[in-house]
């Protein structure tokens, strides 16, 4: 049984297509993330699941129950809000107890459940505080405890960490993940922070302009992006558009840009006259000589030392590419404007169709 099934959901706001043709299946206990830039429809999708807005088309099932016409207050989903939405006129205890009281549970049970929820977010002893005496992080813990306390069928997170500072954000995301795993509540998490999504999720759906671009495990999303949008949005990537030339034999074709000539697999390129070659900064291998095939030469522009890596910006045929050097030492950083020669192992190179943006070599899938 799927915890959540979304079939062909569409939603328009006037002329704007907020959601088009959304299909999703989320497993019980899964931590599922909707990732995308602002305005991509991720929050709309979350609010549609919660029942705050109604889809124009399509069906939503929670645990095999069709909930299209179930009002928000009967869906038994619990949301953790971006701006906390902690009731300012209630104590921490009353906030967490709110949903339990609505469910008319006996007093002792409520007290017990509130206690458990507060313990799991490390807020024991805060019961009688009012929200104005809490920090942002503590308020969000109250929000989390309040949502958990009702033991919902699904927990919904609407960018819950975006109002917190960087250090707290990292602490809190670990905590959310731990709490979710220990309770095993199915969770849908909305964020625009790709790093957060990679760390926290079992699976991720990357969204753009109301459409799902790719669904997959964090590894797949990062290592195996299906199109240029996903490749660009998740992590840093270099992209060069090269002109395709004649066959280079052995199933390869020449692709060139200025002085660079690379050999790329010919499969799937028959209809194309150019191609996007993409690779991540950490996959680059620096080489000493330009003799080897498939090398790229550029001039070093800037060096940013980031501790575990030194990030080079290299001018290649007028385009700035980023390459990382691991375990850098000051003595082996080349001077600015010097020539840098590098290559990328074939298995780390991603090829895209510059017109459709789709991955090549994955053609059978799309």
């Amino acid at each position: 049984m799927h915890a959540i099934r979304i079939i062909g959901v569409e939603k328009n706001f006037g002329e704007v297509k907020a959601l088009s043709n959304i299909h999703l299946e989320i497993e019980k206990g899964e931590f599922f993330t909707l990732l995308g830039p602002s305005g991509c429809g991720k929050t709309t999708l979350l609010r549609t699941i919660a029942g705050f807005c109604r889809q124009d088309k399509g069906d939503i099932y929670i645990e095999n129950e069709l909930i299209n016409d179930v009002p928000a207050y009967q869906r038994n989903t619990a949301m953790v809000f971006q701006n906390y939405a902690v009731f300012p006129h209630m104590t921490v205890f009353d906030n967490v107890a709110y949903g339990l009281r609505v469910r008319k549970l006996p007093k002792e049970v409520i007290a017990q459940k509130v206690k458990t929820a507060l313990r799991s977010v490390h807020l024991e002893g805060f019961e009688q505080r009012t929200p104005d005496k809490l920090s942002g992080g503590q308020q969000q813990r109250v929000g989390l405890a309040r949502a958990m306390a009702i033991e919902p069928r699904v927990l919904l997170f609407d960018e819950p960490l975006s109002n917190l500072d960087a250090k707290l954000r990292i602490e809190m995301r670990e905590e959310i993940k731990a709490v979710q795993k220990s309770l095993g509540i199915t969770s849908i998490y909305v964020t625009h922070d790709q790093e957060e999504a990679l760390v926290i999720s079992d699976r991720i759906a990357v969204m753009n302009q109301g459409r799902i671009q790719q669904i997959g495990k964090p590894w797949e999303i990062y290592r195996d992006p299906l199109n240029t949008f996903v490749a660009n949005f998740v992590g840093k990537i270099n992209m060069l558009t090269l002109k395709l030339g004649p066959s280079a034999g052995l199933g390869y074709r020449e692709a060139s840009l200025g002085n660079i000539t690379l050999h790329v697999p010919a499969h799937g390129t028959e209809q194309l006259d150019s191609i996007i070659v993409a690779f991540r900064p950490e996959d680059v291998v620096e080489v000493r000589s330009t003799d080897r095939r498939n090398t790229i030469t550029g001039s070093l522009r800037t060096v940013s030392f980031m501790g575990s890596v030194a990030r080079f910006e290299v001018d290649v045929e007028g385009q700035i590419l980023t390459i990382d050097r691991h375990r850098p030492r000051e003595t082996d950083i080349p001077p600015i404007h010097s020539q840098v020669v590098f290559s990328v192992p074939p298995e780390s190179v991603l090829l895209f169709d510059p017109v459709s943006g789709k991955r090549l070599g994955k053609g059978d899938r799309s």
């Binding site: 928000a72 207050y73 989903t77 939405a85 709110y98 469910r103």
Partner: protein
């Protein structure tokens, strides 16, 4: 599904009721005034006679220029007093500055006519200050006429400017001034380049309110103006003398007064809609401690301004305890004046309390419901209602009073001489304030809070009751108390509408002053002052987030 439809119907009903109120109690009477202004009173024919007369006779035109003169002068002097007071109390440590603010708010909220007649007791024909100075050979000018109006108006209304400016000064992020200093600006330069531009919207906003208040003020010029007529008193005089005929000329004057007020309101709205400098308030401005002579001068200035504005109130309270014999004050103290009120005119007191209470209940309920619609239901119809609800801002009390008489002394709605008509004027005059404040409170309540309630399983009705309403409560109550104060002190409309049975305290005070019974008038004014002060204290203590509540609510 059925629940959804029923809910929709409730709000449609409220919207419809809102329109009904506006049409029956605003548009209908105002249209009547408009109509009468085009009826020649001799022939009863439709004509432009009234309008031609207004613009050709010096008598009428002078009231117009007088009104503008008074409003401009009052605004100017209010700024002269208000801006320095705001600057000193927010930027320098002034001992007892909270106390000063409280006093100036009391002066602001006290009935307008009390200040006016208090100045008469001090600087009138037989005023005690005047006789005092006379005895040492100094002849002070008499207070009747424009001088008195400007004096009384300025000392009543300057807090609008000082409070709004102080509010703005306190919310300027200190970093902005520091940035200016850091870039090499000297203190004077910082003030003119950064501080002043940041508070200018608030200063002009306050100035326009003062202009508007002074333009439509009826009580002060009526009591202290003498032969110096302004538009509201002209309209009142014309109306009371035209009572047997069609009120053509009074209507024309009313329309002109309303046009002037509308222009000011439109200006104010335009100004308010322009960008305000909202700040994150990371760094509050520093309050500097002055030393020696500078500190002395600053204190003298602040206390001087505020004490001058509360002096009339103190004088009233003092006179209320003086021994009297009829209209004459005798030496010694007594409670005679109060005894007189409770034996002779207790009905006046109960009327005031009852009518205001009834009006406040109406205002709070209707205002909250309409405010909810305006904040949460966004449709074209609601927008129209929202702008129609602005109209009472532009209708001076005198105009509304005249409109109510002409419209409601004939079928289909006959209300002349009833208590209802007075309660309705209170209601209509305060309604836009209460709608606005309810709407703005709702806008400050994050919709996510209501969503959180619903999301946790609470149905919409329960969510409104357990979350929205408790969060609105403070705002509704403090708004209601402000309505209560203004209703208790209302004179300009009710003086046209009362009959013997429905007389209220402000009307009685006015009549007592005219007849020279200063003792009883003082005692009654003191009662109003105490009511005002206590209400203010309650708002301040339990509901307010600063003195700005009093100028915005």
């Amino acid at each position: 599904m059925s629940g959804k439809i029923r809910r929709a119907d409730v709000w449609t009903l409220v919207t419809f009721a809102g329109f009904a109120i506006v049409v029956v109690f605003l548009i209908y009477p105002l249209f009547d005034i408009f109509r009468y202004s085009f009826i020649d009173k001799d022939s009863g024919e439709v004509s432009l006679a009234n309008w031609i007369q207004f613009f050709s006779k010096k008598y009428y035109l002078r009231a117009f220029t007088n009104s503008l003169f008074i409003a401009i002068a009052t605004t100017f002097f209010s700024m002269v007093l208000g801006i320095p007071l705001a600057f000193f109390t927010t930027r320098y440590r002034i001992a007892g500055s909270t106390f000063l603010t409280t006093l100036s708010v009391l002066a602001l909220l006290s009935p307008t006519f009390i200040g006016a007649y208090s100045w008469i007791t001090m600087l009138g024909k037989n005023g005690f200050l005047r006789t005092m100075f006379q005895s040492i050979g100094v002849t002070l000018p008499q207070i009747y006429g424009p001088l008195g109006i400007i004096l009384a108006d300025t000392l009543q209304y300057y807090p609008f400017i000082s409070l709004m400016t102080a509010g703005a000064l306190m919310t300027i992020d200190r970093s902005l001034e520091e940035a200016s200093e850091n870039l090499g600006a000297r203190p004077r330069r910082i003030f003119f380049d950064v501080t002043l531009p940041m508070v200018l919207p608030s200063v002009t906003g306050g100035a326009l309110i003062v202009f508007m208040m002074s333009l439509s003020n009826f009580g002060t010029p009526m009591i202290i103006g003498g032969n110096f007529l302004v538009l509201p008193t002209l309209a009142y005089n014309l109306f009371t003398s035209e009572i047997s005929e069609t009120p053509g000329m009074a209507s024309t004057v009313s329309i002109i007064l309303m046009l002037c007020a509308s222009i000011v309101i439109v200006l104010q709205q335009w100004l308010a809609s322009r960008r305000k400098y909202a700040s994150m308030l990371v760094n509050r401005p520093v309050v500097k401690r002055l030393k020696g002579i500078r500190s002395l001068v600053a204190h003298a200035l602040c206390y001087g301004i505020v004490f001058l504005s509360t002096l009339p109130l103190a004088v009233i309270v003092y006179y209320s305890f003086r021994k009297t014999s009829g209209p004459v004050f005798k030496s010694g103290f007594s409670l005679d004046s109060y005894r007189q009120i409770f034996f002779d005119v207790p009905k006046t007191v109960t009327n005031s309390f009852l009518y205001s209470l009834a009006a406040v209940l109406l205002i709070a309920i209707v205002g909250t419901l309409l405010g909810f619609i305006i904040a949460r239901k966004k449709s074209g119809v609601v927008k129209v209602l929202d702008s129609l609800l602005m109209i009472p801002y532009m209708v001076p009390g005198t105009v509304l009073g005249i409109g109510f008489i002409v419209a409601f002394n004939r079928p289909p709605i006959y209300l002349t001489g009833t208590a209802i008509i007075i309660i309705l004027t209170y209601f209509i005059r305060r309604l836009p304030y209460s709608v606005r404040s309810a709407a703005s409170i709702l806008k400050q309540i994050d919709p996510a809070l209501e969503e959180a309630g619903i999301n946790l399983g609470s149905p919409p009705g329960r969510t409104f009751r357990t979350i929205t309403l408790p969060l609105m409560q403070g705002g509704i109550i403090s708004g209601a108390i402000m309505s209560w104060v203004t209703s208790m002190n209302e004179l300009s409309a009710s003086i046209l509408l009362y009959v013997g049975q429905t007389m209220t305290m402000p009307i009685k005070i006015y009549l007592l002053v005219v007849d020279g019974f200063f003792g009883t008038a003082s005692a009654m004014s003191t009662i109003l002052l105490v009511v005002t002060g206590v209400s203010m204290y309650i708002v301040n203590k339990y509901f307010s987030k600063g003195s700005e509540t009093f100028v915005s609510a």
